[in-house]
Symmetry: C2
Subunit: 526 residues, 2 copies
């Protein structure tokens, strides 16, 4: 899931229209559901798939070797499951690939301490192993930044820790309570969790702060480059050795150079800062070796199909997907090997249980979601419509629905209507057989942050499921601890059968899912 | 705090005798307490002390350079506080010092992944940087171990992960509830938390399992050495990048050689194990550089005094202390810089508030507690009595009380009577002024695990306070995350004033604290 999108889009809400919900009884195929549950709960392969995506393929940053391994493995595995037309479909130019070949960082004075960190994505290598004095730069305005002029040459620059580690009185992981689910069903707006120690602010304020920080960071980078600093240590937060990772430089082939930079465990960075502030010189040794790949700048999605069996309807398509790419400091288990493993398991279940969907079912494993939903956006643009012009391509009318999974490893508790009132009674009926598995809630709330938005943006019915949060927001999302260990098998099995059933029903009902009115073109008429 | 001791001694209980508790009204000096609270809450230095002990001195493994820095810094600082006779008092021979000069471990195939770990204490260096195939050894019997014969030459051996990472549904940190404190006060036996997924077992069973594992591990080490393995990766558990550290080899100067060994984050180790078990070859690169010190094999305690002011009583002594040594992968903030910082703060408060204790107050910062309470045991043997013979030295009758702090960074909620019924009314009276600060409970329960036991073992009144557990048991105790960040200033301030008051009152009441009957000598008569 892509943080920036979540920030900008999570606020939207539609108003529920419960009066409309009971007009026609939606058909539910109980026999099919029994087969799906039997296959998915008793002969699950979802953890095996998750193992291959995470441990075997490794980190899957857009353009990386790990993502290439995942492209190949998923394409092969989907073919082995009996899907057809499995392919790597290029969606356009992404940029440079980038992989880590070495990462080492330690404090070497006042005493030795090996530290926890990883190179920020797309940052260059250090010149071998470098051992330098540290300079601490703390600035939130340009004037403050200017004070460091002339002090950074040949230094390893340590930046401020904006988010201190947690004390641990709250559990990392939680499930939605009945009360929370009821509020979602009622359409009560979501309470936005206030950041620790800071008062609640408006969305506009938050975006303004974010942009100001980004702008200052750009200036800092320019200054550190021109001053001749050796490297940077920074952190975006975390706790107890868990740290968040992000983008350190543009992936564009013509991107401006930046310094080598390691994103750090906040505890390790704070120790350095406390020492420097007490006047105790700190020396750091670090070595990062990163490798850029410019042979193939294209991005790909992995696509495969279960052909429809109804002569009239098989040209129509039900899609399901999740993004295959991840951040680089862990193996992207909950973001989003979990979603991909569940989607792959859903199509495996459908093939293995011998069901005959009327429409064609197409799985898509997207890439470069983390950089801006690029895989799904370009797929939509290439196949359905460009939101800029809203000129519809012929496939636009053929898409019955798109289902996405990308909110961590938690089991499915329901689904977001995404402002589409007409789907409420349909989803309510489809969820009913899964009450015993905890999936109960259709919410009029919108949700953002991931690839269903690419479909929604051109008026196609794209949906994301409600998932138990577990430790996604606190511990795994974009961190160095997003590993296989965080996945809970029963949650992924449950999600697989719910998705399989939704996809099957969408592929089998008489009509495609109802659509919202087409949005206006986002580009101004020329 | 020393785990092994806790395991063997935490079960003991005495029965409360509340009828005795009200015989004489214990005097409480409210004016002194007001001064202590004012100094300790409004002009605290406890976090500054904690900073120097942790960040500045660094890890303080017995015999290490970090412990030497802490010896010198505490001796100097206690003198600056106005204490007299500050000295490093040798207690006997400890063994070799050991420091880490480099620690690096990464998976280099099937892809690169930098891993989280630290050399096990007292293990030797690797021969520079070594890059080897991994062999996974999983054995709980000697027969199982034998199956690996002939397979370990030149391999990095990965051992089993006995304790899987937590899911995170429970908070790391907690405080005692009123109900839990009431049960302590009532003398209800402590519920032993069952290890995750295993049924409750008896103390004897646990010790038998522990000894069997230790014996097998010794055989493993012999086999790995004789087979010519290159190094070992092991883990004692942890979660999300936090790992536990321990002793990898004897510190005795004539200890048998062992292999280089890194204690790992369980997530990193489990990834390797899953890959190997799936038949995927794993290569690991590692470099550890450790340094042994054999110039000075002695152990020291840091001692300093506030002389008593009453002509008759000043030859009597009230002691307070905690252990200065720590494990090596972090800075031992909660185990036990916190306890030392509080004890140093307590004597600072007493000096600064100008109070005139009648007895002499002596602070002791112990060493090699983690290896078996060696600093305090030998101090007791040198000054008071050897528990083997129970021949009392002259100082034995002069010790009024010993107070210890070593259960993490949590505030004081009360005190353990340590089977000494007669102290209950005294401690109850002394705690009363701290009800507003959450210190309320005198429990007949015993507690073990740390240096008060050395005094208790020769019939001297030695006590440990009840402290809020916070994240001591889950996240910091003996881990790589036991850092300054985990300390909560308000907790340490509170503890400092409670200790200062207890020490002041023990140094000022007419009688020394009541004693239990002398224990029998532990050695058989010759």
């Amino acid at each position: 899931m892509n943080t920036f999108r979540l920030l900008t889009l999570a606020g939207g809400l539609s108003i529920a229209a419960p009066g409309l919900a009971q007009q026609t009884a939606e058909k539910v195929d109980q026999a099919a559901i029994a087969k799906i549950k039997d296959e998915g709960m008793n002969r699950s392969k979802v953890m095996e798939t998750a193992f291959y995506l995470t441990d075997v393929c490794g980190p899957r940053l857009a353009g990386s070797d790990g993502l290439k391994r995942a492209y190949d493995w998923t394409k092969t595995r989907l073919t082995q499951y009996g899907l057809t037309n499995a392919s790597l479909e290029p969606w356009g130019e992404f940029g440079r690939g980038w992989d880590i070949e070495k990462s080492y960082v330690a404090m070497t004075a006042p005493y030795y301490h090996t530290m926890i960190g990883a190179p920020k994505a797309w940052t260059p290598s250090t010149s071998g192993s470098v051992k330098k004095q540290v300079a601490y730069v703390k600035a939130i305005t340009e004037a403050e930044l200017d004070r460091y002029k002339g002090q950074l040459r040949d230094k390893i620059v340590v930046l401020e820790v904006a988010t201190p580690p947690k004390e641990g009185f709250e559990p990392d992981a939680k499930r939605y309570t009945d009360e929370e689910l009821k509020k979602m069903a009622d359409g009560t707006p979501a309470a936005r969790p206030a950041a620790t120690g800071t008062p609640a602010t408006s969305e506009a304020d938050r975006m303004a702060t974010y942009r100001a920080r980004l702008a200052l960071r750009t200036k800092m980078t320019e200054m550190m480059m021109s001053e001749g600093a050796a490297a940077v240590l920074s952190t975006r937060g975390g706790s107890q050795g868990t740290f968040f990772t992000s983008n350190g430089a543009p992936y564009a082939p013509d991107a401006k150079p930046v310094l080598p930079e390691i994103e750090m465990s906040p505890e390790d960075q704070l120790r350095i800062i406390r020492l420097v502030e007490a006047g105790i010189p700190v020396e750091v040794e670090m070595e990062t070796k990163t490798r850029f790949q410019t042979q193939d700048l294209k991005g790909y999605n992995v696509i495969a199909e279960i052909p429809g069996t109804d002569k009239k309807l098989k040209s129509e398509v039900v899609m399901l997907g999740g993004h295959l790419d991840s951040w680089h400091a862990a193996t992207g288990a909950t973001d989003n090997a979990a979603g991909c493993a569940v989607m792959m398991e859903a199509v495996r279940i459908l093939k293995a249980s011998g069901l005959k969907p009327r429409r064609t079912i197409r799985i898509a494993l997207w890439s470069a979601e983390e950089q801006g939903l690029f895989g799904s956006r370009n797929y939509v643009k290439n196949h359905f419509a460009d939101p800029a012009t809203m000129k519809l391509l012929p496939e636009h009318e053929k898409l019955a629905a798109y289902f996405n999974l990308d909110n961590g490893g938690g089991k499915i508790r329901g689904i977001y209507q995404q402002s589409n009132e007409a789907v409420a009674p349909i989803f309510t009926a489809w969820l009913a057989p899964f009450t015993d598995l905890g999936a109960t809630t259709v919410t009029p709330r919108n949700t953002g942050g991931t690839d269903h938005l690419s479909f929604d943006a051109v008026g196609l019915p794209g949906f994301q499921f409600i998932q138990d949060p577990l430790d996604y927001g606190t511990r795994t999302h974009h961190t160095n601890q997003d590993t296989y260990d965080r996945l809970i098998p029963e949650d992924l099995k449950q999600a697989s059968v719910v998705v399989a059933s939704f996809v099957y029903h969408a592929a089998t009902r008489d009509q495609k899912l109802p659509r919202k009115p087409l949005p206006a073109a986002t580009a101004k008429a020329q």
